[in-house]
Symmetry: C2
Subunit: 439 residues, 2 copies
């Protein structure tokens, strides 16, 4: 039997502690599956003194992440400290340069320095595994990197942020506002005190950049992702979506178009019958459209200590078995640069909600302005406003919501039409626009 794989873990928070526990608990299964024992030989964390319910006897405590990464007794360096920069970056780089394998759950670091780290892994022969960085225990990295190795991907999209999906689910099911749901999510620990990273779509963008790289061979780059968050979504949008056969989800979408790879994060209308529309609460999901085959959807927990640790340990097991996948599926030199997609050129269907000042005249104006831009309508719904008179007719001053669903058109055309409608002064306020993604 081969000597056991010696693992060093930097970071002993919820995930790190669970990884230590899991490797101990599953030691027999891990040895059977990988043909080699797996042993935690060294750890480090910010505070050695902190009370932990972990038995660390016989495990070396390294002075720093860098020391741990350079320890000749460590074969596999596991980075669970987080953060897009130091000390994680230098430690991982040191480990890779020493020919060690690295396992991390750090999406921010990969989104920022993934290419540089993949290059180091490739040069020195170690593995660089990060299944936990996207969708925790959902095996989406492995599926894109290995499971679809022989199939071209035309689109990959998903619900990659549990906080946003939790908020949208509650807004939809209880008719609450974004602000109310966010407050609840914060109270329940599903959202941070500063929620911007989640609700403005940046977390999703980091994960999407990683998926796009695996699917399309782009250099992972958060800056190439167009990003819009969910704070502008109103309960009436979710109600209208429901009536029209859609649900609203914050999606990350990476898609091959004639103009290149488009990467975007924004609130999206998805058909209620799609697998992705069924995903509720903090659950995550990713759908992969392979060329010529029906979509494959992977659903599961996108966060949480146990789910993240499960993916980390599976990555460690791959290292033990001697698997050395290219970190982004292809040699780094073959990864292509990608730029942010100009959204004005995006083509798709659109949901548009307007507040018409006066129904009859406005409908005619809107129809004309859309026709001028060659936009066809799939449906139009006029809603009775809160303020109606005794006959059910809108009160003089009350604007009437009008909801439009367009067939595929360019974003440019939509905005030109809406600007014209605004210039016509037949609507009040700014129109709400939500992109539609068909399955």
């Amino acid at each position: 039997m081969v000597a056991p794989l010696r693992v060093g873990i930097a970071g002993l928070g919820t995930v790190g502690a669970e990884v230590v526990r899991l490797i101990e608990e599953q030691s027999r299964a891990l040895a059977e599956r990988s043909g080699r024992g797996v042993r935690v030989v060294a750890v480090t964390a910010r505070s050695k003194a902190k009370k932990r319910s972990l038995d660390l006897r016989g495990i070396h405590w390294a002075k720093s992440p860098l020391d741990l990464a350079s320890d000749p007794n460590v074969d596999c360096f596991v980075e669970l400290m987080g953060g897009s920069g130091e000390p994680a970056l230098s430690a991982i780089e040191a480990a890779l340069k020493a020919g060690k394998s690295v396992v991390t759950a750090n999406k921010a670091l990969i989104a920022k320095h993934g290419v540089r780290l993949a290059k180091a892994a490739e040069k020195h022969g170690g593995a660089f595994n990060y299944e936990a960085a996207v969708g925790a225990a959902i095996p989406v990295i492995k599926t894109l990197r290995e499971g679809l190795a022989g199939t071209g991907v035309s689109r990959v999209y998903g619900i990659l942020n549990g906080t946003c999906n939790y908020i949208l689910t509650r807004m939809e099911q209880e008719g609450l506002s974004f602000a109310e749901c966010l407050k609840d999510a914060q109270r329940l620990g599903y959202a941070e005190a500063n929620p911007s990273f989640d609700v403005d779509g940046h977390d999703t963008a980091q994960k999407l950049a990683i998926l796009a790289s695996l699917a399309f061979g782009t250099r992972v780059a958060q800056s190439a992702v167009y990003v819009e968050g969910i704070s502008s979504i109103a309960p009436e949008d979710l109600r209208a979506a429901e009536e029209l056969g859609y649900r609203v989800k914050l999606l990350g979408v990476a898609v091959r178009t004639a103009k290149g790879i488009e990467q975007r994060v924004h609130p999206t209308m998805v058909p209620k019958s799609s697998s992705i529309a069924q995903v509720m609460g903090v659950t995550n999901a990713v759908t992969i459209d392979g060329e010529g085959i029906p979509p494959i959807t992977l659903v599961g927990p996108g966060a949480g200590g146990a789910a993240t640790a499960s993916a980390v340990v599976a990555d460690i097991a791959d290292v033990a078995r001697g698997i050395r996948a290219k970190p982004f599926g292809r040699p780094v030199e073959r990864l292509r640069d990608t730029t942010k997609a100009p959204m004005e050129r995006h083509e798709g269907g659109y949901y548009i909600r307007l507040m018409a000042r006066d129904l009859a005249g406005t409908a005619a104006t809107i129809a004309t302005r859309l026709a001028e831009q060659k936009i066809s309508l799939e449906s139009i719904v006029q809603r009775h406003p809160e303020g109606v008179d005794a006959n059910g007719a809108p009160k003089k001053a009350a604007p009437v919501p009008v909801i439009l669903i367009t067939y595929a058109t360019s974003e440019d055309a939509v905005y030109r039409a809406l600007e014209a409608v605004q210039r016509d002064k037949v609507i009040s306020g700014r129109p709400q626009v939500i992109r539609i993604e068909k399955n």
Copy 2:
């Protein structure tokens, strides 16, 4: 660069032809991903004369599968002939004994001879990959074998047969009978002329035995699976399920119980909110419950030439990359025997539909008989029969459907209670019983 992997393909039906095409089309991507070219060097099929839209110039035509498997110019033998016995068995065994790797999509063969073939692979060092055998392009084999290497599995269950799910979906959505839907499925090519293998659950049982082996380390054995098909399901069961918040699916379920690993295939009530309940038509899905983590569900095409070929080529790419997983995740000598679970000891909730001869008296009798067996009811629904008089009261002779949902109990207790009810002569016909699977 390493020399290309030389692939030999036995069987050039829909899947085989698509594999040849895909390897050619994706040759650059395959080489980049696996660090090694992949080339089809030899093929064989029943008829060489048959017209195919394949360019086989430069590819050797072997006289027989066995010849192909023994060809020293072939590194990886791909078996796409099907059938649980010869000539596939001898050819695969010959290839493995020569130290070659083998890729197959043949679930029947694995369910019958999987352990024997895995032993040969283990002894001679070749890979034995069969991702396509269960759920085609859904990466469920890889996920169980590698993606959850560090996590104990407590249950794996799924919709593994598209024909059955297509029939149940149409029955539910259109209120049609089993016989009508089967006829349509046959007309559309979703069901065989002899549909028994699909609709009686045997196809699902073969796939389940494979999943159970990967999840629990059992020796794959179709004989260890309890099997019940869908032909007894009536439209009124699907209507009642809908009202009670359930859907009926043909599930394969493998679960760790105190008494051992239970493997069973039968029509199952699943909560409408579960991921598996959303899966419609010919689509397949598998849910994996890992210890301590929320369920992971993989959804996608379970059959079809392109989807199957996609999984076959991914398996070939793994061979090219040098990955040698243990075929069932563990060394063959560690796989444990498993026997068919005695269903009378199965514990779970039950749906029961009875035709009561006379409502008032029957309800009291049923309640008494269930109470005698310590069975608690979650709900009871009394349906008005087709024949009612002017006051809505049942006509004298018309039996009234009564639907019960029990809390978890043993199957034994359910059948004892129902036998007592039958002896009481308060119901007509045999009761319908469907097991409930909670998520």
